[in-house]
């Protein structure tokens, strides 16, 4: 690795972006009594996890348009900059559908390359008028819906659970199987035959829902991709989803670590700060080391995403990031509660919210175990003469147990 001039410039741009996002979120936190909203324990009732005023501010800053090509046909930024925003949202435990609307939906539409779909949704996504979600099913699992054709109309049935940001979505990209091949299409919400069931989660800063589709009719013009292209779109979104959540988790873990360090430096017992006791100090250091390792893992993933790496490389890098920012990040949040002692055990204090957001992040887009196993299976498949697992990514997504699903 050599640090080039271009990289230095990009690093500076990212630092500026990070600062402006942090400032924006700081102002938002100042005018929003998140704790009061969350106290009810029912985010949807409290108007969360989507705050239209914050969303508008983010649109005004251009944060919703980072990946969408402007008039020159070039996107203003890359996934690395989106990750900067996601990390800041995680740091502030900010409820926001940013991951789906600014990263996953635009990436799917752009990779699908259908002009009609792009013209219909991208402008609204960038201004903030359209909010999105992606219902592609879980990492390594078959596509979750079945689709049949009736003339120019697709008729869709099936249930997709644990769809992130579903509660606020006005469009949901759905993946399914049509005539034995994959297809991805856009469903405008609300739609006849489509039911959105927002699930009550321990992490009240997020909206996660179940999308039930019962003979929902979708015009053929809403197809984002089909056949091999659909498989590619689904793979890409699954990897980017993992990377995006890893970026969020980095911010959450960093925040949890900083909170614990600050508390350990300030809370006094036996006449001195508890952070001077090695038992407490060493917990804090382990948190810090985990955060630094997570930061590096995310850089590895960003590098792969920015290079436009092949599917196997991107999958590997996504797994590195999601695994390193999975269980190790959750452990940071656990220690944060422990360092806070009795206060850390209360609803009023923040530490439990780090834990809950990190555990939800870990559970979506492939958990730590799944990603570790995928990395190992790829390595085992590359052992000369070893029959091992073969290439875990070789099979199609239509069949069962695909995309490197762990056995």
């Amino acid at each position: 690795m050599t640090v080039t001039l271009e990289e230095t410039e990009r690093a500076e741009v990212r630092e500026e972006l990070q600062l402006s996002v942090r400032r924006l979120l700081h102002r938002w936190a100042g005018r929003t009594d998140v704790n009061a909203l969350l106290r009810t324990g029912d985010a949807a009732e409290a108007g969360l996890p989507h705050d239209p005023a914050l969303w508008q501010d983010m649109a005004d800053l251009g944060l919703l348009a980072l990946l969408v090509p402007d008039d020159d046909g070039e996107p203003p930024a890359t996934a690395a900059e989106v990750a900067v925003v996601l990390t800041e949202l995680g740091r502030g435990l900010v409820p926001s559908p940013y991951l789906s609307s600014a990263l996953l939906v635009p990436s799917a539409i752009l990779r699908g390359g259908r002009r009609e779909v792009a013209e219909r949704y991208l402008p609204g996504l960038t201004t903030g008028a359209v909010l999105g979600a992606v219902a592609f099913g879980d990492a390594g699992r078959p596509l979750p819906t079945t689709v049949r054709r009736e003339g120019d109309t697709l008729v869709v049935g099936g249930t997709v659970d644990f769809v992130l940001d579903l509660g606020s979505a006005s469009v949901c990209l759905v993946a399914g199987v049509l005539d034995g091949a994959g297809v991805v299409f856009a469903v405008d919400l609300p739609a006849d035959g489509a039911r959105v069931e927002v699930r009550r989660m321990h992490d009240v800063t997020r909206s996660v829902g179940r999308l039930v589709l019962d003979d929902v009719r979708v015009d053929a013009s809403a197809v984002v991709a089909d056949g091999v292209d659909a498989d590619e779109v689904v793979s890409l979104v699954r990897e980017l989803g993992a990377i995006g959540l890893a970026a969020d988790s980095l911010g959450v873990a960093e925040s949890a670590m900083e909170a614990a360090v600050a508390y350990a430096g300030q809370r006094r017992q036996f006449g001195r700060a508890i952070g001077s006791f090695q038992a407490v100090k060493h917990l804090c250091v382990d948190m810090f080391v985990s955060v630094e390792a997570g930061r590096e893992a995310l850089k590895i993933a960003m590098g792969a995403a920015d290079r436009g790496s092949g599917a196997a490389d991107l999958a590997h890098a996504a797994s590195v990031a999601k695994a390193q920012l999975g269980e190790p990040a959750v452990a940071v949040a656990r220690s944060c509660i422990q360092v806070h002692g009795g206060i850390g055990f209360t609803w009023e204090a923040v530490p439990h919210r780090y834990l809950k957001r990190l555990l939800l992040n870990d559970a979506l887009f492939g958990d730590t175990r799944w990603h570790r196993r995928r990395v190992a299976r790829a390595a085992l498949g590359a052992v000369p003469g070893g029959d091992a697992a073969g290439d875990p990514r070789s099979s199609s997504m239509v069949a069962d147990g695909v995309g490197g699903s762990p056995r």
């Binding site: 690795m1 430096g265 700060a273 804090c284 810090f288 175990r369 196993r373 990395v375 085992l380 070893g386």
Partner: protein, 393 residues
């Protein structure tokens, strides 16, 4: 126009070509079978080959046979590790810690020792004592001035390769009245001097790396003082901080090669259907990749002149935990066969692929050069700004 990256690629290419032509085949088993003196002879021959090719001391200044940039050094360590090149463990202390200290503080006369190091003179370091490990400044070895010479008395422990050493570098107390850190000085001592006795301490692998050194009225000239009388604590910082991250890159790379061996073993033993084993392997692979990336980034930051901060301590802590866990997992996974002693285990490598041997040696990384607990204190106090534990006097 060629950027620095292209130059590095070219450098890497030339290293690979040289390694392919020069790394002795089966050196590991050959060296392991050799008796001690013969083994040192083999290491010395490889050192001579490296000196001739210009790869022995890339981190020294150009006038002494080095002059590689930090990035080139990192690439060199990386390629040597990947090529499974021989490790010249007996000379590491001389070529790294002691050479660094001489280069930073040596008189022109003392710098003459660098030539001897390149010819394969073994050096040892006498810092730790039985009552001064993590708390090094508490050391008791005395150096009493007697006219223009000093008389040394004391007892040192954990000294690598002292049984083979021609020279030693010792940290001793020259002013017993001064506060702990102030009254120390560093001495360069001829290990054949009258009054020096070395006793081997077998380590947990059974290997003969460590020694105790007894100094009984050993007389040295005042020209043996390195970096000034009573300035020993400041001078020792060069020794303790000689690692600038580049050699780490090589260690991390060798560990990755070890993980490839573990991967192959899991496949060979048909354990790839065991989810627990596969997950553990995956965790090791992920963390090794993160470590290697962090290692290279640290060197790149240092090369760009940016402060590296507590990075060395972070890397050491992370690596220690990682190598200990992965070797433990390999021992557990591969079962009773790992409990058999292998003939070529006498090598001090921690990446031999004999899992029990490597596991036992993994404590090197959590104890030597500052225990993991000391690293945590360091990071907690310097990077996180947490208060120190009150000092006991």
């Amino acid at each position: 126009m060629s950027g620095p990256g292209e130059d590095l690629d070219a450098y890497r290419g030339s290293l690979r070509a040289w390694l392919a032509a020069n790394v002795p085949r089966n050196w590991r088993s050959e060296w392991a079978r050799a008796e001690t003196q013969e083994n040192i002879g083999l290491q010395r021959r490889w050192l001579a080959t490296l000196v001739e090719a210009g790869y022995a001391v890339p981190h020294w200044p150009a006038e002494f046979g080095g002059g590689a940039t930090l990035m080139e050094q990192a690439v060199l360590h990386q390629e040597f590790a990947r090529a499974n090149a021989p490790e010249i463990l007996a000379f590491n202390v001389a070529l790294n810690q002691i050479a660094r200290t001489l280069l930073d503080h040596g008189t022109p006369e003392q710098l003459q020792h660098l030539g001897g190091m390149l010819r394969g003179e073994v050096w040892c370091q006498g810092f730790s004592e039985s009552e001064a490990g993590s708390d090094l400044p508490a050391l008791r070895m005395r150096a009493d001035r007697d006219g223009d010479s000093f008389v040394l008395n004391g007892h040192k422990v954990w000294s690598s390769y002292a049984h083979l050493a021609r020279w030693g570098m010792f940290l001793a107390r020259t002013d017993p009245a001064a506060p702990k850190r102030r009254g120390l000085s560093i001495f360069l001592v001829d290990m054949t001097s009258a009054g020096v006795e070395v006793r081997n301490t077998r380590k947990i692998t059974g290997g003969a790396e460590f020694n105790e050194i007894f100094l009984d009225n050993v007389r040295v000239s005042e020209s043996a003082v390195l970096g000034g009388e009573n300035n020993g604590w400041a001078v020792s910082a060069s020794t303790l901080n000689s690692e600038r991250g580049t050699a780490n890159v090589g260690h991390f790379e060798r560990f990755d090669v070890l993980l490839q061996k573990y991967t192959a073993a899991v496949a060979r033993e048909g354990l790839d259907s065991d989810d627990v084993v596969v997950e553990g392997l995956g965790r090791g692979l992920v963390e090794s990749e993160v470590l290697r990336s962090l290692g290279m980034r640290t060197v790149a930051e240092a090369a760009a002149g940016r402060p590296v901060g507590p990075q060395a301590a972070i890397l050491k802590l992370y690596f220690g935990d990682l190598i200990q866990r992965v070797t433990a997992e390999a021992v557990a996974t591969l079962g009773r066969e790992t409990q058999v002693v292998h003939e070529d285990e006498v090598l001090d490598s921690y990446t031999s692929g004999h899992w029990m041997h490597d596991h036992l040696n993994s404590w090197t990384w959590t104890i030597a050069g500052g225990t993991s607990q000391i690293q945590r204190n360091l990071i907690g106090e310097r990077a996180l700004g947490l208060p120190r534990e009150p000092e006991i006097r």
